[in-house]
């Protein structure tokens, strides 16, 4: 019987150069794998593979050297410990994330929670070509948001309260963008210099700066054969509902307009950014 390689690939089994051997890709969300899952993965690698795993460049885990005839068995074995196969081919791939505000002192958003939401909504969705989401918790950009077709970067929307300010001058220097100026009892922020990093909020000794969660979204990033940096074309997004509305509109645009085998960056280049930007602004405004 001839193996259906396309179906296997869609289901996360990538044909190796060695005959009838497959590298099994696992579903990982936001780079988080539980201890229980790790144990099952280790056991599966020993039992069905060559006793090692490969960590991919996008937080994926693969078990190489799975034999064609054992594919169903290894799937069942892993499913018992809540480990699902991943995907390959023209669809939404692993959603990546840094640890974000759960653990990191710089984190402005709960990156993992956002990644889980995006994964629930889009993972595996069939599209004209692969589509990658990545979520990074702040401007430090450890997760490199702009290398994804759709990147989300956490930020803070800041607000200053005069009553709590002691005019110590710390925020003016903590801001690396030179956006804050303090003159005689007044603090001003230059809006086009502020990148929503939230450093003023974390540095302020009195809590005079308040920050609420914000999202900076970039579109059309790709870092393979061709390298393009995703572009931020929208103002900071202030709530998750809007974030998801924008993500829906972007992925629908890709589904409707991309040619088969064309990455998002190429589609945007071919059709021009203007009409796409207009659509995104509409989604942004609701």
């Amino acid at each position: 019987m001839a193996a259906d390689y396309a179906t296997l690939k869609a289901g996360g089994f990538m044909r190796q150069k060695q005959k009838d051997m497959f590298s099994m890709r696992l579903r990982v969300v936001g780079g988080t794998v539980t201890a229980q899952q790790l144990k099952a993965i280790a056991e599966a690698a020993e039992k069905f593979g060559h006793s090692y795993v490969h960590l991919t460049s996008r937080q994926g885990v693969e078990i190489p050297f799975i034999r064609l005839e054992e594919i169903d068995e290894v799937k069942d074995f892993l499913a018992a410990s809540d480990v699902q196969p991943g995907v390959c081919g023209p669809r939404v791939r692993t959603v990546t994330a840094c640890q974000g505000g759960r653990c990191c002192p710089s984190g402005c958003i709960d990156a993992l929670e956002i990644a889980e939401e995006l994964d629930r909504r889009y993972f595996g969705r069939q599209l004209p070509h692969k589509f990658k989401f990545g979520v990074t918790g702040c401007q430090n950009n450890c997760l490199k948001a702009e290398e994804n077709d759709l990147g989300v970067k956490g930020g803070m929307v800041i607000d200053w309260n005069r009553e709590e300010c002691i005019f110590c001058g710390v925020c003016e220097k903590a801001c690396r963008r030179g956006a804050i100026s303090i003159t005689d009892g007044e603090i001003r922020v230059a809006p086009d210099q502020c990148n929503h990093c939230g450093r003023c909020v974390t540095a302020c000794p009195t809590g005079a700066w308040k920050g609420s969660e914000g999202f900076l979204v970039s579109f059309g990033g790709t870092f393979g054969n061709d390298i393009q940096k995703g572009r931020e074309i929208l103002p900071v997004i202030r709530d998750r509902e809007t974030l998801l509305r924008v993500a829906d509109a972007a992925i629908d645009y890709f589904a409707d307009n991309a040619q088969p085998g064309e990455r998002f960056a190429k589609t945007l280049e071919r059709l021009g950014w203007e009409s796409f930007t207009e659509k995104m602004l509409n989604a942004y405004s609701g």
């Binding site: 002691i166 110590c168 001058g169 220097k173 974390t202 000794p205």
Partner: protein, 81 residues
């Protein structure tokens, strides 16, 4: 600065991050609760980061003074957690 009764001063312009913070922290440990330390630091990384680290340790930052020579004095009141 007459408005603060400074108990001690520490110069961290001779070290780089992260030792800047370590040196300031050690100086704060010498003080009693409520006493005030003036930390002399350079522009750039130290002034961007040390005030925040001091705050995260639970001390009270009172003032950041800009000196004419491009250095800064951070006035901190020791506060026990």
């Amino acid at each position: 600065m007459a408005e603060f009764r400074i108990t001690d001063t520490v110069d961290i312009t001779d070290v780089v991050c992260p030792v800047t913070f370590v040196k300031a922290k050690v100086a704060l440990e010498e003080l009693e609760e409520g006493e005030i330390l003036s930390i002399h630091m350079n522009d750039g990384e130290p002034v961007q980061n040390v005030p925040r680290s001091i705050k995260e340790e639970g001390h009270r930052v009172l003032k950041l003074i800009h000196n004419d020579d491009g250095t800064y004095d951070l006035i901190v009141q020791k506060t026990e957690a």
